[in-house]
Symmetry: none
Subunit: 134 residues, 4 copies
């Protein structure tokens, strides 16, 4: 199953709506299951630095098929894969990247959010991912 | 005046509608007046190579405040700025990138389209840029 | 349909066999339909520079769903997309990259060959691509 | 002595067989003694992020002629070469990269494995390296 543009747009909208209600300006990036950009939105006032962070969060989730903070766990100093965060041109290892799964559990892409505090980005990314209709 | 996300979304939608009616799948990128990504859409079936080309067309238009094919003219072998296309990490110098202007003529961003023949990309980019409401 | 490792190995083997019979040492790269490396072989004596060229030929074919020399036609000086070869981190625009298609014509990857004269690379890539079983 | 493609293929096959019997999908990369890619396989289902990690593990082993986890020891925070992991474009410093040695102990290349837990990657890399016939 391939992610459609309508699906991606629904994910972006849900993320933006959640951010707005929290009074935060964010970037939201949606990638396909191979890590290529599918759709993207930057809200007025979002940090310019969040363009790259949102994309890299989503890319990190695609590359290792997990939420970014879970990848962060195995990369911690002393953890088994410490240093993994330098691979693939650099990963983001805190929350805000979430895989998008089809109804049968297959990876079809990922969403990445950046612009708020990490816990806020995570909530917004969850709202965004939850809007995926498959 | 700053480009809003609603404005960018209207530009994307108009580009996608024009591409659809022409039976072409494209990528459309909207950048702000500083060349940072504002919004992006990739239609199902668009070439993966068009992600970069659409963004670079829009970036080229922002960097020199002109349509990409006009920049191509001054870069031609023998023309006065031959080689300019290698600056700024590489420009795209054929049609499909168009500046977005406010009602008083100030640059507020650019749109870039890639996915069809060059003449088609140009028509789609014009339709997209024409949907800007300022 | 996803390219399997057995399919990719058959493509590599056919390419190496053809190169061997021609007395040439080559690199053969097989990528999936999103441009990620699937399988690769470098024969003894192949130029080290061919590692990158073979991969980039295959990547070019994936990005624009065409044989590399066809992309070269639209990139020629004076052609409509002159300069496209600088996009996507650099394309290879001479022969030796060929899309891999499923039996219903869908793109499932690409093969790239480098190591001989361009016409030789093309023949080897054709032999390699012809070994795909779908 | 130069690593042949047959030798590299035997290393790849042994790695894939070991991974399969463990129910894991991995990438296996074989580099020559100069760090150039010789042969590569990605099993269906392997993380896309493992393409880079497998290659970088093998590259790390070539660059310092040691298993990756041994290099990790000298890079640890507080250890004598802390920060070495940022050299050479980035090293991988956990297990899964193993030098390939000729029968007289000379370095002829390295194998890198990524796709499972670190201990699994290590076992698979050992099985792969053990298949080298010199």
């Amino acid at each position: 199953m391939r992610l459609t543009l309508d699906q991606a747009a629904a994910v972006l909208s849900a993320g933006a709506a959640r951010a707005k209600s929290a009074g935060i300006a964010v970037c939201v990036a949606v990638l396909d299951d191979a890590g290529h950009l599918k759709a993207f939105s930057r809200m007025v006032g979002a940090w310019l630095g969040s363009v790259d962070v949102a994309m890299t969060k989503a890319r990190t989730s695609v590359l290792f098929q997990a939420e970014t903070q879970a990848i962060g766990e195995v990369c911690k100093p002393g953890a088994e894969a410490a240093g993994l965060e330098r691979s693939n041109g650099g990963l983001v290892t805190f929350a805000g990247g979430i895989p998008l799964l089809s109804s049968d559990g297959a990876l079809i892409g990922a969403v990445g959010v950046s612009g708020g505090r990490v816990a806020e980005d995570f909530e917004i990314a969850r709202a965004a991912a939850g809007a995926l209709q498959t």
